[in-house]
Symmetry: D2
Subunit: 297 residues, 4 copies
């Protein structure tokens, strides 16, 4: 029996880059968490500890900071593509890369007309992200968002389901529906990434709000379909939506009714609904786009 | 040598209560994390396992949900006072209580004039909180906020400090200043708690933004002073502000300058600045208000 | 353009099951975190909210607890296979499943010969896990461990690497090597899962300790090879090992040397080394084993 | 109304120090998380941003690393006392300090008689800690442990409790008892800290195991008493023990009994039991020992 080195990659994870554009009185802040991973011919370091091909992960980190100065940052997709293409172009032993970026949003602190324009507050919660996969001259961009927590106090049902020996759940025609949306979509063309992100996010939110939900699956599918219908450059979308259960408190032992007013927010377990929504007119090749992207959680 | 039972308390922690007010077409959601702790004569359960005085923590949890139905929720301070007074009034063995509530904010999802008004998005990040301490007929209310992350891209200096054998830090007249504000303030009178919280939060934000900072201590003190000057019902404020360091990336090895554009966001260690700011015209008795409240982190 | 529902699955995540075997005076405790996901014909719930095929996730949770009573728990792989086969056998609309289990270890509290044998302490840290994928009559078992944190104070070098414009790292022939091992291996045959887990873990630990490391890649590959050489039923192993950097503190400004004694433990960024190690005599079909398993982090 | 600066302190938090003693073939590793906070006359930095008294937190961090080289690390209590006394002795504006250290345990990886003796595995979970408070020439040492998770599968009851309108809990004479022990004890004399920590930890574990529990309060009190009775140098102990509920799964809907075998491990809410246990022969002055130590959680 012989041992074989299979797929492998290495790089620097979670490089925390904050960039300030001070070219205008109103500063612009960009907050990235960058992970670079290189692929190529790295057999000798695995087998013999020969590092002659291994550009240090420390150098990859340095490249992130240097590029932010040399080229600015811009959209995470563009920054990731630039980094990946640089490594492939300058290192002969590298033939592929995976560059992932999380972006944390910051909002301006409003201080009136005479106030400073360089103070920010971090809303927390959701974040924008991208995973760019490069293989030689090919590249794929999968972008998305994570931890977008939404809730509806009504307009959600769950009924008509089958019952087996282990089923005790009651049907309901009015429940709280809450989830934390993780969505990732694959672009089939290069776009102005910064111009489509906010509209996609808004569409996801509005569709969640407007959809009368018969099942969380239906809500997910409707949200995904809306994105595909509105954004021609999106080839497919994969979503993972936990059902963050809110249990109606049983107050009858205390002589009280509870007309959908008092709920127990549960932690675990939670339902977990995951699906891919795609289109029948897409002839783009997903290639290696999803190989190292968790389409589902 | 004899063993003595000293201070003690018991209760239910992190009761997750979500309340929906459906009385108007526009639903109102309130999201609390409630911790109740009772104090009194509980020596026999500690010493002999005699539980005849120990109202189960399960009953305390039930009370939280039942009270939400019977009285509604309202402001966290009012809900906490009602709970604490109930336990003291109805249980002869209980003479004190500590009721703590964290409130998670939710924002409406805007969907246009014809849309539903029962869909929400959770911004994450900061949260409002209160700790109410009751001792017999006395009560103290300490309210605050936590995890309010703010940052200034300029308008911050740190210079003029002393140097000892272990000092290597360079002086700076322009740095990023970032912190996560934890603030707790003690009321010296009952107020309309819901009407002062948002203005205090806004004032903290604006003062952070407007203050040219020579030290994080100065920023903290200015923020605290602003609250005391504007809100006569606030007796004192205690703040804990980590200095979330953003290090200027040294790009000189790559032949690049870095005029305050590219920063490394550090995790640990971090500076930690903590102070109490109070007023000389306060004759209120803090009593037991801070005994089990971490004024500092 | 038509919308297409692609891959999808749903189920209950993080069902926290604790089972006590009281059949002997020495109790045996098993602590699982179970996630069930079903695959099959669920188009109508996504498209029309028709739930006639959707066995509630609540029923899946009930099944976990009921099966623990009916059949006991045993090894996580066996319990997962039993659950998956049950869903496929009893629900005509279900043709596949993904059952994942994390197991938390508990150790006995030693209390002497006369003491009780039903008290445990949880060591924290690492955990054993498995992901079982079923597709009709086929099944694949991928087991592993996560968060196994190890460190060597010497016996680790990193030198001989190439240098580009952005390289500033110094070579070292003696450094701290620390990592948190995540390993997942695919079985090519059914085995007595409980009898191989502990020896594989021990072999990973010992190989880490014994290997003089010229690169973390080499350490990883040596660890993976050792498992394949010793365990014939393991077809392949995938490992993800962050390089948890320990930086030598520069004490020269204080007139002090530092002969590898004082280190700064870094948080972020960290190196990330990931590879698959396999064997040339394996003719087993990985099938869908890795489709929803993060082989790399 | 005038604004007053009250209590204040500042310093560097979470300085991650790893020290390797290489003086013997068997290396010794010490892993600390150090937080230093200085107290004294810092009014001018708060009020005017005058930093002439403010030794940078960066210098405090440097001192931690330099001291580890100059004096070694030893026990966390001794290291903390040395740091605190240094700041008070060398900085005239500093008259007090709070030095807190968490210590993470590491265990040797056994590799046989011929193997290396410099490889370690981190068990995770519990950690040892100390908070040393200094005020001029006075000092107080409060040491403890956190996150020590223990569980008993039997030997625990809860019955005989009072019932009010909101009580629905059933009495039980056999339940799982699980908790995560946080304990902090104050020394009334300087001791060989490293020699008493392990025995105290063992005694806490054994007492938990041996005590037939009628209430978690009783278990806590018995554990605390045991420490006071066995360790004359401990003046008092404060413990915080969450009741990590394990609910018996109700399997009757499935035609199954459940004789204390299958449990649901709950997350939230949880009971929270906190008490101080002290001795009647103690004349030591707690002074400022507990001022900034959370005796209860």
């Amino acid at each position: 029996m012989g041992i074989i080195l299979g797929e492998n990659q290495y790089g620097k994870a979670e490089v925390r880059l904050v960039h300030v554009d001070r070219s205008q009185p109103q500063h612009v802040i960009t907050d990235f968490n960058v992970t670079t991973q290189l692929r190529g011919d790295f057999g000798s370091t695995h087998r013999q500890g020969d590092n002659s091909a291994v550009l240090p992960t420390d150098s990859q980190k340095n490249t992130v900071y240097a590029f932010a100065r040399e080229y600015g940052v811009g959209e995470p997709e563009d920054f990731a593509l630039r980094l990946g293409r640089h490594f492939i172009a300058t290192l002969p032993q590298v033939n592929g890369a995976r560059i992932a970026i999380d972006q944390y949003p910051w909002e301006r602190i409003p201080v009136g007309s005479a106030g400073p324009d360089h103070a920010f507050v971090k809303p927390g919660g959701e974040r924008r992200n991208t995973v760019v996969t490069l293989d030689g001259d090919d590249s794929w961009v999968v972008s998305g968002l994570a931890d977008l927590v939404v809730l509806k106090t009504t307009g959600s049902e769950f009924a008509g389901f089958p019952r087996d020996r282990y089923t005790t759940l009651a049907e309901t025609t009015d429940r709280i529906l809450a989830t934390s949306v993780t969505a990732r979509w694959r672009y089939r063309a290069e776009v102005a990434y910064g111009q489509v992100y906010a509209p996609i996010r808004t569409l996801l939110l509005e569709t969640f709000a407007r959809t009368h939900s018969l099942a969380l699956q239906q809500t997910l599918y409707t949200m995904g379909s809306a994105v595909l219908e509105a954004f021609d450059d999106v080839a497919e979308i994969r979503m993972s939506m936990p059902n963050k259960h809110h249990y109606l408190a049983d107050l009858t032992p205390f002589g009280l009714d509870n007309p959908n007013q008092v709920f127990i927010a549960g932690d675990r377990p939670y339902g977990l609904i995951e699906a891919q929504v795609t289109r029948d007119d897409d002839i783009s090749d997903p290639g290696r786009a999803w190989e190292s992207v968790p389409g589902f959680i």
